[in-house]
Symmetry: C2
Subunit: 318 residues, 2 copies
């Protein structure tokens, strides 16, 4: 297949490019480097099946030649309000990537009669009142709250994708991505795993926001990409959760990271939560992915962390 | 003030133009006539304070001269899947009006340092689990359901409006409009009051979808416009419900319409509901509008219907 990936220079986009190239596909990456990093694609530039277009997906997308699939991964994705790359500091760009970007990406899929895959998110479930979250859960999102620029952009993108499927007959997919970690996350991403790894590598105490009792389910990037690839090849138009259902508290995660990295500095509890409406619990129900894609995560947290830590060591020069 | 109104040829847009002109403002109407009707503005064309630009708000908006306010009312708004004007049959246009249209309308407000008012809707509450609905309720909307093109477009528009307020400091307003009726609704609008009035005027039995036990709260257009005008002049940036809190069943409404029009043909119960996820109950909590705008509806249902029915008689030539 000849595949366009928007957000190709991002954390997940770049892993996806690699995987699709290794399966023998031809890949066109697209990114405006707002939050993506050219270095994430540097090793692919000599691959003759890879090409790159620098472009902001909020503007009309044109790609010469026939496309078989369009995977829309472009969006700021970090909730870190202290980072210039966090979506709270890029609210308009985030909403444009979700609305105009999805619209333009669907447009190029339609023009090519190509399959379209939307990278959606567990954030569409908001602060969930159902646990774990099934795909049938409608979510609990504050439409005007401090995270609404991201959550509502992705909900809009899902609705638009389904409209193109139902009204224009486009062959669409929607993956709802839960917390994922791995190499190529930004150092200043602000999410908990890159934060903890860096603090532990510097032998600093790990900072826990709130009381550390909020739970998360962390999926290793390779597992996630496998799930997305299977979804792409499937014929499933309704949203599918892809994530790791093993739930743990942030406190448990911190202890584990310190253990693996052998960090003697311990923990610091900071009771000011980072961002309004930070969800207390989030865990995917992956029954649908198990049954329809025969997919489930293969990496344990320790295995995933051990494959992730060398990247941060390299970046930090440790 | 010099005021731009998008969706000016629609039901509410045209009433709003009239009201603002009567208050001495200068009004520029904008519409692409996708669902609006030029006849709704025909009587204003000789007013020297009124001008009109035919334009699709999904495309960049330019208006010569300084604007003091931008009121964004452009959107298909009827849920009738049997009408070519219903949003289920205009899903892409509906989502474009909500996303690109709101983005462009906010852009022209920003360029003019003008006040922006978004026409939002009780539909952002979806099928509510809280009753009546306060502005603090986050809603219960299916992001990929058959009404999602409208509900998610409006939720997105609210989030984008708040982002422009918080990030760019734009002076914004959000009105959440509950069921409203009055003259200039399309004959094929498909909502219950125009349907009932026309059937009664033709001495046909009124068709009740479902069992007629679903409740609605109907606000007369003049009351609604008064509330919107007060909100525009206020400094309130958070969403405000405007609607009539008097709740009745669709069955009660039907009996009332037959009584006023003196229709002997009675009712027909049709148990197939019109559209998936048609909300069972919807009633505004208008405490905020009462306290902050000193507003509440003045018209009873009978008074409002008596001012509405002549329009339908005229349109039907009865």
């Amino acid at each position: 297949m000849r595949i366009l990936i928007t957000g190709a220079a991002g954390f997940l986009g770049s892993h996806l490019c690699e995987r699709l190239l290794s399966e023998g596909h031809s890949v066109i990456g697209m990114d405006n480097f707002l939050t993506g990093d050219p270095q994430n694609l540097a090793h692919l530039t000599t691959n003759e099946n890879f090409s790159f277009i620098r472009h902001d997906v909020s503007n009309f997308i044109f790609v010469p030649g026939k496309l078989d699939a369009v995977l829309h991964f472009a969006s700021p994705a970090s909730p870190n309000k202290n980072s210039p790359y966090g979506y709270p500091n890029l609210p308009i760009q985030t909403m444009k990537a979700g609305a105009l970007g999805t619209h333009n990406a669907l447009g190029v899929a339609k023009a090519n009669n190509a399959t379209f895959l939307l990278a959606s998110t567990s954030e569409i479930y908001g602060d969930p009142e159902e646990h774990p979250q099934k795909e049938t859960y409608w979510g609990h999102v504050d439409p005007t709250g401090p995270r609404s620029m991201y959550d509502e952009a992705k909900r809009f993108a899902e609705a638009l994708t389904m409209s193109y499927h139902r009204f224009h007959g486009i062959d669409t997919r929607i993956v709802r991505i839960f917390n994922t970690y791995g190499s190529r996350m930004r150092l200043d991403d602000g999410r908990v795993i890159p934060n903890f790894i860096q603090q532990a590598l510097r032998n600093e105490p790990l900072t826990i926001y709130g009381e550390g009792k909020q739970t998360r389910s962390f999926c290793f990037a390779d597992d996630l990409i496998e799930g997305i690839y299977r979804l792409l090849l499937s014929g499933i138009h309704e949203p599918v959760n892809i994530g790791n259902p093993v739930e743990m508290t942030v406190l448990e995660l911190a202890v584990k990271v310190n253990e693996i990295i052998n960090n003697p500095a311990g923990l610091i509890i900071n009771e000011d939560l980072r961002l309004g409406n930070d969800p207390e619990r989030r865990r995917p129900d992956i029954t649908k992915a198990r049954e329809l894609l025969n997919w489930e995560p293969q990496y344990t947290l320790v295995q995933g962390l051990e494959k992730t830590i060398p990247y941060f060591k390299m970046k930090l020069g440790i």
